[in-house]
């Protein structure tokens, strides 16, 4: 593509690194013929912070806080993945109470993440109001996080051996209130956007991704599931007691923008279902397995994957027995989901680019790390 000559009537525009619809510092090179996109090329690296390299200089307990800054909307799941990988190396298991707390927190952050996505999708498609409606319940979730974990976005709450603090006394009450309010308000999502004729026109049949493409490009999470690929790590490789809760892996075989939209709304309902099952059954007992002050993993390789709000996050740790990891590598969902953009964009319009980016739900710091 670098060597391609620009033909007559074709031109190139740079979308980003500072562009309102890329949600961050992604730069897309678009080759256009009028409004039609001929080809595209994403440029990465504008927010590369070297999280993997930084992790090699920090202890096992310390580097986890960096992972909250990768996919900042699934901070709990990122921390959970690292903690599980380290627990694998230490051969300890979090106490049952801690596992349930982890699942609850993960599902709450999935809800919060999907709500932000829904609001941002409206914003990308030109409707400003959904953003505020989505933030109403998201704000409640963040307040629950703030009460229990001490911060709202980069919580650093899940730690090897369990969780840092016990649940706040008000936690159960507040989560129940949240679920009640959320169930009452989910119909507004349909009223404002899902059923909207303009949104239907913008999303249905646009941005098709076939199951073969999704697999070969390594897409995971809602993006792949909307193309009919079964890839929910919570079902395939259950962790932290996901095998004990009853939920469905939502699938759709259309693979277009609307399938991805519908799937995330349906996933929110599933998250509510998981939370409802667990909120009354939080086991008593210790919330944390006390580890040594300085954690040392036995030499070897450890891999753990979890399902974040955007797909499969893999954490690969190589230890040489020292107190710092020898190598840490993250397989992040957004990087592979971004790959789906190029085949989707061919032949689409500029307006479609925005709706595709919105339904892929890309978080740029997670792509660059």
């Amino acid at each position: 593509m670098e060597t391609k000559d620009i033909k007559r009537d074709e031109f190139v525009i740079n979308v980003g690194p500072q562009h309102p619809s890329t949600h961050g510092v992604l730069r897309l090179e678009l080759w256009l013929d009028g409004e039609d996109i001929i080809d595209s090329k994403p440029h990465l690296g504008y927010i590369h912070r070297g999280i993997e390299k930084m992790s090699e200089a920090l202890g096992y307990k310390q580097f986890i806080y960096l992972t909250s800054r990768m996919d900042y909307l699934s901070a709990h799941m990122n921390n959970q993945a690292c903690s599980l990988a380290i627990e694998k190396g230490l051969q300890v298991e979090a106490p049952p109470r801690a596992q349930v707390i982890r699942v609850l927190m993960a599902e709450l952050s999935r809800l919060a993440s999907h709500q932000l996505w829904w609001g941002a999708l409206g914003l990308d498609l030109g409707a400003v109001s959904p953003f505020f409606y989505a933030f109403r319940e998201r704000e409640m979730i963040l307040e629950i996080f703030e009460e229990t974990c001490g911060s709202r976005l980069t919580m650093n709450y899940i730690t090897p051996g369990g969780v840092v603090n016990d649940l706040h006394p008000d936690f159960v009450k507040k989560v129940k209130k949240l679920i009640e309010q959320l169930k009452g308000n989910l119909h507004e999502y349909d009223q404002l956007l899902t059923g909207n004729a303009i949104l239907q026109a913008r999303t249905r049949g646009v941005g098709k991704l076939t199951a073969e493409d999704a697999i070969s490009l390594g897409c995971t999470g809602p993006v792949a599931r909307a193309s009919g690929v079964k890839c929910d790590v919570r079902k395939l490789h259950p962790y932290d007691g996901y095998d004990k809760v009853d939920f469905e892996e939502v699938l759709n075989d259309k693979g277009d923008n609307f399938a991805r939209y519908w799937l995330r709304i349906a996933e929110m309902e599933q998250s509510i279902r998981i939370i409802e099952q667990l909120i009354d059954n939080i086991p008593e007992g210790s919330y944390r397995e006390k580890l040594k002050g300085v954690v040392k993993l036995p030499a070897g390789e450890y891999y753990q994957r979890v399902e974040t709000a955007r797909g499969e996050l893999g954490v690969y740790i190589v230890s040489d027995g020292k107190k710092e990891p020898y190598r840490v590598r993250f397989r992040t969902p957004n990087f592979s989901n971004l790959n789906a953009l190029r085949p989707m964009l061919k032949g689409a319009k500029i307006g479609d680019m925005v709706s595709m980016m919105a339904t892929l739900d890309l978080i740029i710091p997670d792509i660059d790390r």
Partner: protein, 361 residues
């Protein structure tokens, strides 16, 4: 009859006073200047009011308070924004076509001010009772696309160019069904003059007595005027998530403010046209047979009626903007050529039939 002094009497008094002092030609010149100043003041005041009202309405629709800091309940916010824009530097991009770049905001603003000329605000309050008023407004308002294309082309920015081209395609195509919607009422009232159309509605507004064709024309006109204004859901020309700001990406300071002002002026003018043509202009609401009620309605001055109707339509347009997502360019054109235009053409046929038979009230 009226309890208060009507605006007509004030203008007549000014006119006779000027004529008694000056030579008629000089008096006419002074009247032109006065009218121009009045229009500018009105438009600027309305734009400031509209910006504030829109931000407040948007705030309440989104569970926010809107501006609250400058002045009581943020009432000075729009004025503070204007002051800020006045103080900013007007940047001109290096490789732009400098003359066109600087001229474009003026073209857009002048065009939007020109469309105010034939509007009748109240009984006898009209700058120029031109006998082709409706035609004049549709003709002049379509000139604004030239200013937009100039801005987009001269900025030397691909985003601006794309925005301007979108805007051109959009305004040119939506003018067709907008014009056809106006023709329905023109046929029924049998005149193109604004004051004639208002007089024809003395016994009932067209939207009430004109049966289904006028209602369809009214809805079509609201949709097309939203599209001609480049406002959501048709704001493709400045779609901020696709083209950052479209044709005025490179403008700053007062040049940007002029685009902004002309957008709000256009919005205001098209709402006034809709209020005049379909909702009876300054004519009060009458129900045939209820004399007491009609008499009571007569006491409300025409100017209140007129601005009440205008604000109702403005509110509708604001409401659209803060609810709907944006269309894609091909869907936008599809809506016009596949839905609005065929419907308008058939509607004109029906309206012609009704007008010929004289079936309206």
């Amino acid at each position: 009859m009226q309890l208060s002094i009507s605006l007509l009497e004030i203008t007549r008094a000014i006119d006779s006073w000027l004529n008694s002092i000056f030579h008629p030609h000089v008096a006419f010149g002074i009247e032109l200047v006065l009218a121009g100043v009045a229009v500018i003041l009105l438009v600027v005041a309305m734009a400031v009011l509209m910006v504030y009202a829109e931000r407040k309405l948007a705030g309440f629709m989104q569970m926010r308070l809107g501006p609250m800091r400058v002045g009581k309940y943020g009432s000075m916010q729009a004025i503070a924004d204007v002051m800020k824009l006045l103080l900013k530097e007007c940047l001109v991009p290096t490789n732009s076509d400098k003359m066109m770049f600087k001229l474009a905001p003026f073209v857009v603003t002048v065009v939007s001010f020109m469309t105010i000329v034939p509007i009748a605000f109240a009984r006898g309050i009209q700058l120029w009772d031109i006998n082709i008023g409706v035609f004049y407004i549709t003709a002049v308002s379509s000139l604004s696309v030239i200013g937009i294309l100039m801005a987009g082309w001269s900025s030397n920015n691909k985003y601006s160019l794309l925005g301007a081209m979108r805007s051109g395609a959009q305004i040119v195509s939506y003018e067709l069904s907008g014009g056809l919607a106006l023709i329905v009422v023109v046929m029924m009232s049998g005149t193109l003059s604004i004051s004639g159309i208002v007089q024809a509605q003395a016994d009932g507004w067209w939207v009430i007595k004109g049966h289904i064709p006028v209602i369809i024309a009214f809805v079509t006109f609201i949709i097309t005027s939203t599209a001609e204004l480049n406002r959501a859901p048709f704001d493709l020309a400045e779609a901020e998530s696709e083209l950052t700001a479209g044709y005025h990406t490179e403008y700053s300071g007062m040049q940007f403010a002029m685009f902004f002002l002309s957008e709000y002026t256009n919005m205001f003018v098209l709402s006034m046209v809709a209020a005049t043509v379909f909702l009876g202009g300054w004519m009060p609401f009458h129900i045939a047979g209820l004399e007491g009620f009609n008499h009571f309605m007569d006491y409300i001055p025409g100017i209140v009626w007129f601005f009440g109707k205008t604000f109702f339509i403005l509110f509708l347009i604001v409401w659209f903007r803060w609810t709907f997502p944006r269309l894609r360019i091909d869907q936008l054109l599809k809506l016009e050529w596949k839905y609005l235009l065929p419907v308008s053409i058939i509607n004109v046929l029906f309206a012609a039939f009704i007008a010929l038979m004289g079936w309206y009230l």
